[in-house]
Symmetry: C2
Subunit: 264 residues, 2 copies
């Protein structure tokens, strides 16, 4: 079966068993994906506050109690094994990129699951729009910007954005569609002006892969869940783990919601 | 000048000077109002998590750093004096209802400002709908429900809702309008069935005042920022302060947003 059509559980099983090791864009596209950030309990308040103050890049889908590895939004999952690749940060430096967290996991870790813009790619495709990194079989390009997040405790740093190019005639439609999904970053934060975000060269993303931008196409930029990784570096936390950019958790949640808390 | 038309600063000055001591419904109606919860820093993580897990009753507009009393969303304001009435909780019990917090304030208090449904009453009025508690010059009626919130640490308890009655022909419009304002509770959580929420008698609200429900009218129920007060009681915190139900902070924010964080 086409990886696009996998159930969320099927996608996680393939990832857990090592049969899928790449980025998760285009996988099980009916389901929302999530960025992972896990920090020791003593830093959890400041990080939660950072997310509250920056809901556009950090829309929280779920915060697990310390030590827990099975999210409500992904029943039967194990956060230590069910993402294809992770990043381990020590003293604010990227220390390793393992394929599981079995050795690195600590029981004082609080895991934060943050909405991912991969989740609105199914509705873009359904509307007949091309999502370039999917057509080119690449990870989405992501860029650090000159725009600052709002700080919380030691967490601060640049807004990180993902980019998708569209024909001029499709820009309004792409904005309209993605704006319907605020829990997975919502509409773009910038349309057509990489310079306004301090991005010098679209061909050199800071994370993920470059994609083709055809003559006349307009780059659209969405707030990205990799933003906390820049903030982790700035905070120089002794220890923290995240997903590797583009290598997300596939949740059970339908892309279009409802998301946890949407209904009281 | 009509109190409806006051600027946010004017409303806060009148409240601070003791010239306005009642509920704030209908005051400076162009501006969003906010519920206040302030807890000692050691309990702030669990309370922030409670808000994250219950965004419908607890949509956070701002979280101040410990000890701070001037919110970004209400420049020049002082949270200790600029609400008409407060509640002081000790060991989970309501201990006092003072008109200011000058004696009770502690520098380890973290203040949470939570969106308030008074903020969507201006758009309801602008659409030609009657907001009953405003026409009757009363505080909005609020009820504890049989629906449980999602717990975080010691915080748990019932969802609290506010109620506004509308003619059958106006129900769809009232839902549509309020659904546009998720940062101030959004659309109703229940339409027309108080029993489904475990509310036995509309004439006996748990907070605020009863209002007339005319024959044939439908009661609509919105998640309410008084929900945390029930959770504070359940948590038996040694010390916490809140606004008195209906006696809110008038912020500088326009009712229709943007709210902090809406733009990255």
């Amino acid at each position: 079966m086409d990886a696009k059509q996998w159930s969320a559980g099927e996608a996680r099983r393939r990832i857990r068993s090592g049969k899928w090791t790449g980025p998760t864009a285009g996988l099980a596209i009916a389901h929302a994906q999530a960025n992972l950030v896990a920090v020791p309990r003593e830093h959890a308040y400041d990080f939660l506050l950072f997310c509250q103050r920056n809901p556009r890049p950090c829309p929280l889908l779920e915060v697990l109690d310390a030590g827990k590895v099975e999210p409500d939004c992904a029943r039967g999952a194990d956060l230590r094994t069910d993402l294809p690749r992770y990043r381990i940060f020590r003293d604010g430096r990227l220390d390793a990129e393992p394929e599981d967290l079995e050795a690195a996991w600590r029981d004082d870790l609080v895991s934060f699951l943050i909405g991912c813009s991969f989740s609105f790619e199914a509705p873009l495709l359904a509307a007949g729009l091309e999502v370039r990194h999917l057509s080119e079989g690449r990870n989405v390009p992501m860029y650090r910007t000159a725009r600052e997040t709002r700080s919380a405790g030691p967490f601060r740093g640049p807004l990180v954005v993902s980019m998708r190019p569209f024909a001029r005639t499709e820009v309004a439609r792409a904005v309209e569609i993605t704006s319907r999904y605020p829990r997975v970053h919502g509409g773009p934060v910038q349309v057509g002006e990489p310079g306004a975000l301090g991005i010098a060269d679209l061909a050199r993303p800071d994370y993920g892969d470059a994609v083709t931008v055809k003559p006349g196409e307009v780059p659209l930029f969405w707030a990205c869940g990799v933003t906390p990784q820049a903030a982790l570096v700035a905070a120089r936390l002794p220890f923290a783990v995240t997903h590797a950019p583009g290598h997300m958790l596939v949740t059970d949640l339908p892309c279009s919601g409802p998301f946890p808390g949407d209904l009281a």
